[in-house]
């Protein structure tokens, strides 16, 4: 793959969260138990791409998003932004400067805006922290522009309001405006529309799609809504218990899933058509604990095809075709 075309490269990214134990247990046990949130994942995100990270709760997708922006430090692995290893950058200066190019949008439109700050201050915050404007007028210009891009017009109507005076959809637009006021190149969107009503959801989703072309940026779109991921993303990666199960173009992964987990996931997604005939969901049980993940392939405890090798060896993520990856012994055996 051409290097200029890749914005984000994650290689063997791992994050283990240590668990706080009681004082007595720390004396007795030999090693600290950890939550295996993200385990050795690798993927690329191209320029002007809408990349989806799909999975159920606890699969590690949210942690991955935060790792890419270095809001949490990984336990091991590498992250490259436009070829630059961001983990080697000193936090105080270079990393802080780099944050102009990498931003995040959160799920909860109520929590991601400081209720005591005006809309103006909220959107102006990145500008002020990064000191990219010299005068207050310049700050005001940038804020007004950001509001206009998000279709919150006229900007003066919104600048002096407070978050509680806006609807959920409007708040989310403000959050996106804040993320885009510095014209970033890469944005992590963590379930940005899941708390919005259906009719508002699509508006905000379409807004984000339009920003890709306008700002020439890439999105990492984290979601559990597979149907929406199909609609919005060029490529998606499906995560399960900290690992990538499958990755590829969204249409192919969703319509012709390779990994048994993806199959089960797709089969379980409801569709708004009462006449559609669906295959049955055959997997039972619950997601195992991330503190003690199963040995071998992590899905083996629930997989309908599990063989012996699945219980012993972890399948590596291999490339089946151009832009199609899967981690399953069904395909490595051959």
């Amino acid at each position: 793959m051409e290097n200029e075309n890749i914005v984000i490269k994650a290689r063997n990214l791992t994050k283990h969260f240590p668990i706080k134990m009681g004082f007595m247990r720390t004396l007795v046990s030999k090693e600290t138990p950890v939550v295996h949130a993200v385990d050795d994942i690798s993927f690329d995100i191209k320029r002007e791409e809408f990349f989806g990270l799909v999975g159920e709760s606890g699969c590690g997708k949210t942690t991955t998003g935060r790792l890419l922006l270095r809001l949490i430090e990984p336990t091991s692995g590498q992250i490259f932004f436009k070829g630059m290893d961001i983990l080697t950058l000193p936090l105080e200066r270079e990393m802080r400067r780099l944050r102009r190019k990498m931003q995040i949008v959160f799920q909860d439109p109520y929590e991601s805006l400081n209720p005591r700050m005006s809309i103006f201050d909220i959107i102006a915050e990145p500008v002020r922290i990064q000191k990219v404007a010299e005068t207050e007028e310049q700050v005001a210009e940038k804020v007004a522009k950001a509001l206009e891009e998000m279709d919150l017009v006229p900007p003066e109507e919104f600048m002096y309001r407070f978050p509680h005076e806006l609807s959920g959809g409007q708040r989310q637009r403000v959050a996106i405006a804040r993320a885009f006021v510095l014209e970033p190149e890469f944005v992590v969107a963590d379930e940005p529309v899941s708390m919005l009503d259906a009719s508002i959801r699509s508006e905000v989703a379409k807004l984000m799609l339009s920003l890709v072309k306008k700002f020439h940026c890439s999105f990492l779109y984290i979601t559990h809504d597979v149907a929406l991921a199909r609609y919005m993303c060029n490529r998606i990666a499906v995560m399960y218990l900290g690992k990538i199960a499958e990755a590829g173009t969204s249409d192919l992964v969703i319509q012709k899933p390779l990994h048994p987990y993806t199959e089960a996931l797709i089969a379980a997604v409801p569709v708004p058509d009462p006449t559609a005939r669906r295959t049955e969901v055959v997997i039972k049980g619950e997601v195992p604990s991330a503190i003690n993940p199963p040995t071998g392939c992590r899905f083996n405890t629930r997989c309908p095809y599990a063989w012996d090798v699945c219980r012993k060896e972890e399948p590596p993520l291999i490339q089946i075709e151009k832009d199609r990856f899967v981690a399953c012994h069904k395909y490595t055996k051959k």
Binding site: R99, Q103, N114, Y160
Partner: protein, 472 residues
């Protein structure tokens, strides 16, 4: 965003008007605000509202004089108010010697003969009340250039029946400059006139009737030679009858105006209460933010200190500390504050712990914010509303603690607070004299002011505390 920019002012005004909109809907909030405005007004305009000095002006009325408005009740109708009768002497007949009379009596006597000259001055007034408990006569006597003569001065009181009581008598042959004051309750004065001190009450006997009373001043000049002369001045003569009713709130045991005490006391009680509360709240916020944001060992240490302090008994400790350091207003304020920040620090700390994890904090960090930026721009502003509510709610406690200290005698003796009023009332016999007008006002004032702050704090808390917000 600075409040000096146009945007800043607009945002500030929206914030304030939003708050006021909600506040004015609460009934208790308005009630509290009204009470506070009243007492605040009393405190601020104290010099304008009180004609008397609360501590210095004594004997404005009889001890334990009741408030003036008790005359509404029929059996109190004729209680006498304080009468400060200025004696404008008038001559009864044509005076043989040129004499200037009025407020100031002045005469220059140059003897032509050795005949005795008598001058009689008098002043009439009406007394239409119940008998008072005492009266007194004051004037300045100035006899100058007395040469070769004797003078005899005398003052009497004549009641409506015509009976005469001698008030004062003096004969002299030399210069004299004296301030004369006679009290109807004074031991020697009473016994010289045949009354038994402690048993009889001269005022009650002599003012038993309502009607016309006369005070006379008789000057007898007895020259020895034809060159005898003297100058005599009698000035500032007043006949004072301390009333049994006085002012808006009556008088204390020394005849001081209680209303003045109450009004001036409001200044210092409110000041002490507010200052202590402000110091305590500031401490609580700073320590709470530190513990919550820095975390780790610092957090643990601070919280254990808080635990210990909370377990200590406040009032006994305060008494001991005031005893140690001395009853100075500054020390009292600081000490009350030292015992008042612990609860708030815990609340602030837990708020900070929650806020630390909020998405908007993460967004700020994602934009490159430093830890200090997050603390001052995001965390502290979000806990300020709770701190403000706590500030308002802790004022009553501070006021009550100070009142308790003063009542127990540990207050600053120079500070005339409501607590001190209660202490004086208790110590000087208000209870045994049933002087409710001395006991109730400070007690009620403390109660009302504390209630006002509780109401206001409650209303503010309902608005700013995210958990208590009503559904809009």
């Amino acid at each position: 965003m600075s409040i000096f920019s146009k945007e800043g002012r607009k945002i500030l005004s929206r914030r304030l008007s939003g708050f006021w909109d909600e506040y004015k809907r609460t009934k208790v909030g308005i009630a509290g605000a009204i009470i506070l405005i009243i007492f605040g007004g009393l405190a601020i305009f104290a010099p304008l509202l009180t004609p008397y000095d609360p501590i210095i002006s004594k004997r404005l009325a009889e001890s334990f004089a009741q408030p003036q408005w008790v005359t509404i009740l029929p059996h109190n109708k004729d209680l006498p108010p304080t009468q400060d009768i200025q004696l404008y002497w008038t001559a009864q007949e044509e005076s043989p010697v040129p004499i200037e009379w009025g407020k100031r009596v002045a005469l220059r006597f140059e003897a032509a003969t050795t005949k005795q000259i008598d001058i009689r001055l008098a002043y009439n007034f009406t007394y239409k009340y119940l008998p008072p408990l005492s009266f007194n006569l004051k004037f300045t006597l100035n006899a100058e250039n007395v040469t070769d003569m004797t003078y005899l001065l005398e003052s009497n009181l004549i009641n409506p029946k015509g009976d005469q009581l001698n008030l004062w008598r003096h004969s002299g042959q030399a210069d004299a400059y004296r301030l004369i004051e006679i009290q109807s309750t004074e031991y020697w004065w009473m016994s010289a006139r045949g009354y038994e001190p402690g048993v009889d009450n001269v005022a009650q006997i002599w003012f038993a009737q309502q009607g016309q009373y006369t005070v006379t001043f008789i000057i007898s000049l007895m020259p020895k030679t034809t060159t005898s002369k003297m100058n005599l001045k009698i000035e500032d003569s007043t006949f004072n009858i301390p009333g049994l009713i006085h002012g808006i709130l009556g008088a204390d045991n020394e005849g001081r105006d209680i209303f003045s005490q109450l009004v001036w006391g409001s200044r210092i009680s409110l000041a002490i209460g507010l200052l202590s509360a402000v110091i305590a709240t500031s401490l609580g916020v700073i320590i709470g933010v530190l513990a919550g944001y820095v975390g780790g060992a610092v957090d643990e240490i601070i919280m254990r200190i808080v635990d210990i302090l909370i377990a200590l008994p406040v009032l006994p400790l305060l008494l001991a500390l005031v005893f140690l350091f001395g009853p100075n207003v500054i020390y009292i304020i600081v000490l009350i504050a030292i015992f008042g920040w612990q609860g708030l620090s815990r609340v602030i700390r837990s708020q900070i712990l929650t806020l630390r994890e909020a998405s908007f904090v993460e967004c700020a960090r994602a934009s490159g914010a430093s830890k200090t930026y997050v603390m001052f721009k995001h965390l502290v502003p979000n806990v300020l509303p709770i701190a403000f509510a706590s500030l308002v709610l802790s004022v009553p406690g501070a006021i009550l603690t100070e009142a308790a200290l003063s009542f127990l005698g540990f207050g600053d003796p120079r500070a005339a607070t409501w607590g001190k009023m209660l202490q004086s009332a208790f110590g000087f016999g208000a209870f045994s004299n049933l002087a409710w007008w001395w006991i109730l006002p400070p007690g009620l004032a403390i109660t009302l002011v504390c209630l006002a702050f509780v109401f206001i704090g409650h209303a503010v808390d309902n608005i700013v505390n995210p958990k208590l917000r009503r559904r809009r």
